[in-house]
């Protein structure tokens, strides 16, 4: 009984995580300017990652794999948002203004952000 419950719960988490990644992808394509787009894309490596990894951890049970999944999740949760921050910061420094209100795309010359 409890096995079935855990299985169902983990699948719910996995599907929710998948939906988050999908929303992030659609947002990255559809949203009007750079900052809103990376806002959408950052959904994939925070919410999407947490949901999918917790789902997979529930699937694997109490094994070594769970520990490894947890380590990978921790790594992704540390690096993903940092990368998003660095990207946004680089864009800001290279002169791309977060323009609220209008919905035009960025047209400035892009600097190769490191």
């Amino acid at each position: 009984m409890i096995d079935i419950l855990i299985d169902v719960f983990s699948w719910v988490l996995l599907i929710l995580g998948g939906v988050c990644v999908l929303i992030g992808g659609i947002g990255g394509l559809r949203l009007p300017n750079f900052y809103t787009r990376i806002h959408a894309a950052s959904l994939t490596d925070t919410m999407g990652a947490i949901l999918i990894f917790v789902g997979m951890m529930l699937q694997s049970g109490l094994t070594l794999a769970t520990l490894k999944l947890f380590a990978i999740m921790l790594f992704l949760l540390l690096t993903g948002p940092t990368a998003t921050y660095a990207l946004a910061n680089a864009a800001l420094l290279s002169g791309l203004k977060p323009d609220t209100g209008s919905n035009h795309d960025e047209v400035e010359k892009e600097e190769p952000a490191e």
Binding site: F75, L78, T79, T82, Y85, A86, N89, E110, P112, E114
Partner: protein
């Protein structure tokens, strides 16, 4: 299920490569090459080639991208418009591509157990690995012992590539040397607290993972090449976050060069020692009274040499590019 996933990945590969060809922005092309490498790594992983996948992810997607970006910082971001020569190139590529596709018709099906490659020497390797080395990773056994000559050659290729890059980029232009001091103060992401803190947290683990890959190569996927690339990635990350000077303080140029030369030398000298002890070149069995332990010892030492050489070479190349950036 895995078949569908493989098809999906392969079609993504084709799409990415077409995008690489079509884009004129070199920065985009570099990012797409990185994506291409990641897809390729996933593909290798599906084909159960975890060692190759690890190498592809670390070298192809990690270090190469950084070195490409360093090179782009020196050149321009846009591709130069080319007028002539396009047609001949296209015809040549079309002919070559159709020849290659034609050649694949003679290939056995993917994973066909009757394919010559699975009949000829692979069973012998799988059989003899436990007998001679007594560890489970056949790939490491083939790479470092059965085909040790090839790996020695690869290490010398890495060595030669590093020397070549240093010959071209290693000498700083004399006139602008004094400018370095001024520029270097605002190098790196020093004023960005978040990446720096996270980097300090993550870099030790990256290096630790590299060492694990190095010394666990006999039992799991890994080995010198992957370990060298992973450790180099960690140190490059340090250089990006704290500034190149600090990275050079931590691992100076002389140490890097010593690693490249020492690694290649270590590999070669193990072979020579084998000869002195009465065996053939790179025949590790003679290194110890117990031939199995001799093999394991030899593999451990030459993997260390490979790791040192790869790590030193990648870092030297990175520093050679980064030093140019300060000057120009």
């Amino acid at each position: 299920m895995i078949f569908v996933f493989a098809i999906f990945l392969l079609s993504l590969l084709v799409i990415t490569s077409i995008a690489i060809v079509r884009t004129t922005n070199l920065f985009v092309a570099v990012m797409l090459t990185s994506i291409f490498s990641f897809l390729m790594a996933a593909n290798f992983f599906i084909l159960d080639a975890a060692d190759v996948a690890l190498t592809e992810a670390a070298v192809g997607a990690g270090v190469t991208t950084v070195i490409f970006l360093c090179a782009l910082a020196l050149t321009g971001e846009r591709e130069k418009p080319r007028i002539n020569g396009r047609k001949t190139a296209r015809v040549a590529v079309a002919i070559l591509a159709s020849l290659m596709i034609y050649a694949t018709f003679d290939k056995p099906r993917l994973g066909d157990p009757d394919a010559p490659v699975h009949q000829h020497i692979a069973p012998w390797y799988i059989e003899k690995t436990t007998e001679h080395m007594d560890f489970p990773n056949v790939v490491t056994a083939i790479l470092s012992s059965f085909r040790g000559y090839d790996t020695l050659g690869e290490v010398f290729v890495v060595f030669a590539a590093c020397i070549g890059v240093l010959f071209i980029l290693g000498v700083p232009p004399p006139a602008q040397k004094r400018l370095n001091k001024v520029v270097e103060q605002n190098k790196g992401l020093r004023h960005h607290l978040i990446p720096q803190v996270v980097g300090r947290l993550v870099i030790p683990f990256i290096v630790l993972f590299g060492l694990y890959t190095q010394f666990h190569g006999e039992y799991g996927p890994g080995g010198g090449f992957q370990a060298g690339a992973i450790i180099a990635t960690g140190i490059i990350l340090y250089a990006l976050l704290e500034g190149e000077n600090k990275a050079l303080q931590a691992v100076p140029r002389s140490v890097l060069l010593g690693m490249v030369i020492g690694g290649a030398l270590l590999f070669g000298s193990v072979g020579v020692i084998c000869m002195f002890m009465g065996g053939n070149f790179l025949e590790y069995s003679v290194l110890s009274a117990d031939p199995i332990w001799g093999q394991q010892l030899g593999i451990l030492v030459i993997e260390a040499g490979v790791g040192m050489a790869v790590c030193g070479a990648l870092l030297s190349i990175f520093h050679a590019f980064a030093a140019r950036e300060n000057v120009s």
